[in-house]
Symmetry: C2
Subunit: 342 residues, 2 copies
């Protein structure tokens, strides 16, 4: 029998458990679970994600060959402190936390040297949280970041890659600092932006009206403001500098947009920017990612934007904007002439 | 026979047409259509949104009792210029554009005085565009803003309210300036933020990696970067000041978040903010909108955040953060004592 212990039986932990039960090649698999919150543990048991539930993390890992820490980052550190004294030698430990550098340091500090820790982060999630929302297909097609410490034994890295692949994800190896910089840009910054957008609207005296008018665009843009506060807190305090750096960059990007919005004589450039962005966004949403990005880049003509994208509509719009600008220039010249005539 | 002319047969125009055909009480309804782009017109014809297609807007409105302008804002203005000379007296004209003040002014300037113009803006949309994505249920439960000019005849206002209700939406009356200020906050600012977020990540040298790692949160947060560039351009240039104002406020909100992220001694406040935000966001997503907001506000205790929301989990987390802070203070004091001992 091979025992896997899931510590933290929320959405991610329970989804991994369900998937391993359905698809992994591990013979005679038993999944045991622990969660600090009895209700979370019961929910995981109820949906059949775990075979046995334990009240203490130490008890859950006693016979485990593999331990998956799937709580928020700081809770994972607390779990490591608890299980460190009782882990069998050669147990492989991994995590699914949102940041990696702090966790790699914590593992190196507290786990016994015979225990192999390999960091992990499956890049998937959804709006709902908790075991009740668990879905064995959650990781299908997603990237699963794997962060092996320098001294990690090959067998431990293979074991985590096997878990990722069993879950339907593609392993992506990188170091902890690289990971934390990347997720700051595509995960933590969007969460901060969503929070700032929601708080602004929510704090407005007009919120009763705004909340009625807000449609799908607002809901999508602000969805991450509803992130679990413990998860959000833990990732912020373990990735402060990277997040602050990207907030600064976003403030700069917004300043640039503001200038473009107010620049009455830069309308042609504004439209070019919007058209090019829509083109690039469509490419991204249609799956031009990773190495395929390069081919998209070479598709992009540098200036003659009228020659691509929606073709007819874009060219027509460019003609209109240019004509409008010409007309304004004519009007301005006419006014100047009038003044001179007076 | 009652003829309704839809000028601009994209997602919104075609969805209105499909819905009116299925559900309106208008007897003997015929829907005719015009679009500047032949392909858009053909698509609307193909899905049965319009009964007849016209190559010229003047021809489409000749016998129309009601004209719905459902193109981007500036195209609606261009359409008004074209149809103004041929409209029957007593024709009612409305629009579905994203901004209202510029359009109300344009209508007052160019439409004949016997023609009644009432502005409109159904607050609904989706990621896909064009008639092929049309959905008669698109407006179900949404608000449909109606902006009647001061001199609008009662029968014209009633007609537009009837259209909104037939579409399954709830009419919401307001003036143009009020509308433009509100949509700047909940629609235009989110679009600008999504654009800035996407452009930052897209411009990064690490975009090949970022695009692979980006999951649902990034996709939702940046969805509006894929907005139709003509629609986006038109709403920006007709609502510049309001949009710039809200960009400034968002920059301020981000600056505040940045300070909180970097403030190592304000961790308790950071967690309180995240927990309170998640509580308010959940209330919003669960339908606490409009007047119901007031009752939510009175549910909120001012400080003792530990007593509500997820209860157990939040209280536990607060205890941890406080304990961690206490420990840091102790460690710092210990270090100071050591230095003194030396």
């Amino acid at each position: 029998m091979t025992q896997v212990a899931i510590l933290g039986t929320g959405l991610i932990g329970s989804s991994i458990a369900l998937r391993l039960k359905a698809k992994s090649a591990i013979p005679d698999l038993e999944i045991v679970g622990f969660d600090r919150y009895r209700s979370a543990l019961q929910a995981a048991r109820k949906i059949g994600a775990i075979d046995r539930a334990f009240d203490e993390p130490e008890r859950a890992v006693e016979d485990a060959a593999l331990v998956i820490l799937s709580a928020p980052v700081l809770s994972n550190h607390w779990l490591m402190d608890r299980i460190a004294p009782v882990l069998q030698p050669h147990t492989v430990v991994t995590d699914t936390g949102s940041t990696k550098a702090a966790t790699m340091r914590h593992a190196a500090e507290v786990l016994p040297s015979q225990v192999a820790f390999v960091g992990g982060h499956p890049m998937a999630g959804k709006t709902e949280t908790g075991a009740a929302a668990a879905d064995p297909a959650l990781f299908e097609g997603a990237r699963w970041v794997i962060v092996p410490p320098r001294d990690a034994p090959e067998r431990a890295i293979d074991a985590i890659a096997h878990i990722a692949e069993s879950a339907g994800a593609e392993p992506m190896f990188m170091d902890a600092e690289e990971h934390d910089a990347y997720v700051a840009a595509i995960s933590h910054l969007p969460m901060i932006a969503a929070s700032a957008l929601f708080r602004l609207a929510r704090a407005s005296e007009a919120w009763p009206e705004l909340s009625l008018l807000a449609a799908g665009g607002f809901k999508d843009s602000t969805r991450l403001a509803g992130s679990d506060p413990s998860m959000a807190y833990d990732l912020i305090v373990t990735n402060r500098d990277q997040i602050a750096h990207w907030i600064d960059r976003l403030r700069g990007g917004l300043e640039e947009m503001r200038e473009r919005v107010l620049n009455v004589s830069g309308e042609e450039d504004l439209f070019k920017l919007l058209a090019q962005m829509e083109f690039e966004y469509a490419a991204y949403r249609n799956g031009k990612v990773g190495r395929e990005v390069e081919s998209t880049l070479s598709d992009l003509p540098s200036f003659d934007i009228g020659s691509f994208i929606m073709g007819e509509a874009i060219r027509e719009k460019m003609r209109e904007i240019t004509r409008d600008q010409d007309e304004r220039v004519k009007e301005r010249d006419a006014r100047r002439r009038e003044r001179r005539d007076v």
